[in-house]
Subunit: 331 residues, 2 copies
Amino acid sequence: MNRDFHDELILIDALEHSNWDRDLFNELRAGGVTAIHTTLAVWEDARTTLDNIGRWHRRFEQYADLITHARSATDIRAAKTSGKTAIIFGFQNASPIEDDLALVKVFHELGVRVIQLTYNNQSLIGSGCYEKGDGGLTRFGREVIKEMNRVGMLVDLSHCNERTTLDAIETSERPVAVTHSNPKWFHDGIRNKSDEVLRALERRGGMLGLSLYPFHIGGAGRTLAAFCEMVKRVVEQMGEDHIGIGSDQSRKWQDADLDWIRSGRWTFAVDFGEGSAANRSWPTWPSWFKTPADFPNLTEGLLETGLSRGQVAKVMGDNWLRFFDEAFRPG
Amino acid sequence: MNRDFHDELILIDALEHSNWDRDLFNELRAGGVTAIHTTLAVWEDARTTLDNIGRWHRRFEQYADLITHARSATDIRAAKTSGKTAIIFGFQNASPIEDDLALVKVFHELGVRVIQLTYNNQSLIGSGCYEKGDGGLTRFGREVIKEMNRVGMLVDLSHCNERTTLDAIETSERPVAVTHSNPKWFHDGIRNKSDEVLRALERRGGMLGLSLYPFHIGGAGRTLAAFCEMVKRVVEQMGEDHIGIGSDQSRKWQDADLDWIRSGRWTFAVDFGEGSAANRSWPTWPSWFKTPADFPNLTEGLLETGLSRGQVAKVMGDNWLRFFDEAFRPG
């Protein structure tokens, strides 16, 4: 019965970054996933990002039975009707726009709808969560946010440092999002967010996508019940309209891919990110969310906390859908 | 009275390459120009072409009272209604797609609707009109034409060598164009086209855009009457449905710009193109077509040859419009 409820949901996962193939798109269908926001760049420059866009064009041809490109919330609704998964293009770093303000609209025309301002390190826009210093939003950063507001592109702050995050929340004329992080009070990881950030987000109409990534929940041993209780508490903390899911699922990558994602071209050393020298590989996922096909477990777990069906539907996707309706509309 | 006739025309100029500013867009309006195909790249690679696209986005903002971006023939009709000039994006070389087939669709999404396969020199696709040798269309070239056919992008052969031109006319499943050249029998210039090319174009449903560039008509001394008689003869030769105008107007460039257009990065020497050491600057335009504001002279001259109003309307733009309706439709 709850599976029927799950299958009727508009289920939006606001971050998945995988090494895509037919099996993985089938997993999304098996999990009843209506739309995902996926990553086209972490350290890539403009030219290499065009390659990645070209690769998605091929996928939309090859897997036309399973996926479709979403440029708007309307496209997500159409995907639900046609039984496909809608793919929203995003960057996890500002690297593709290089130092060139005009590239915001260029990539918007190519369907990119989300840019995370920094990826762990300082970017030309602001500071990442692994930097010791944080001078906040830069001059260029203020221009980029203004232009993103104008064209209808969502500012994502998940990997940004504290001051940069708070600056961006205040500076943006349109609500911003943290697509894939948890509250620090749930797990004190470097990528999780302070209560001050959560308050600012809520006050400015922003969204928080709660993450299932092992390093963000405190390891694979964290139970489904503990995660769902956290969701319920965040609903009480921020209100039921500001919360969604951003699982940060990443499937079928090798360790060499993780090296690229962590170290890019900025260091010749190995950066262990949230891992360590002893634990440098991809983390182990919890038994109740090994792949996106396990999303029905999450629906079940949320219902068991006593959240209403309406609240669960909001958290699982309705909030993102309403938010994207506004965020992707040209300013 | 003929000016009224002129003002009602859908006037399409299938090649203008200028150093755009408000004065030049006003010239287009003064000449009653409904649409132009303009050049975003001659030697530019993918990344630099993104800059040029970004520059056009700024122009569409700054000069919104005068111009509008055309992605389809429907957009050209809308421009006529709103009294603006529609801008069609094109490349005069395949350089922006580099060696990357996926970039055809990427640039199509950015609004590019025309790619000329070569610019004077050998490209990765075929041979240019200044090359001694011509091995015809390359393996990559066949793939690019297939992909252009698929996405709805027009193959332009104006600067291509003879065999490459004939290969492309035969290979393309959709009709192709020579957007800005004249018959060699009118003026035996290196950029003009043989009777064999004209026959092949007509047989395959292609279009020839007749050029007003001094080097293509035999110099600034060529009279309006002589040019218009040529048009009338080409109407007899190819039929009234296969002919349009592609003036090759180029305004407000300096000599340094001409050096870039001719020599790019492929030579450290100065290439004189259609000029010579003694005559290396921009050519002088004929008194009857100094700028696009002089287009009414052309309408007048064509009517004086005895071509009917319907025939003149076809040559001045109706043929391109009908052709673009088909050429820009996804395959």
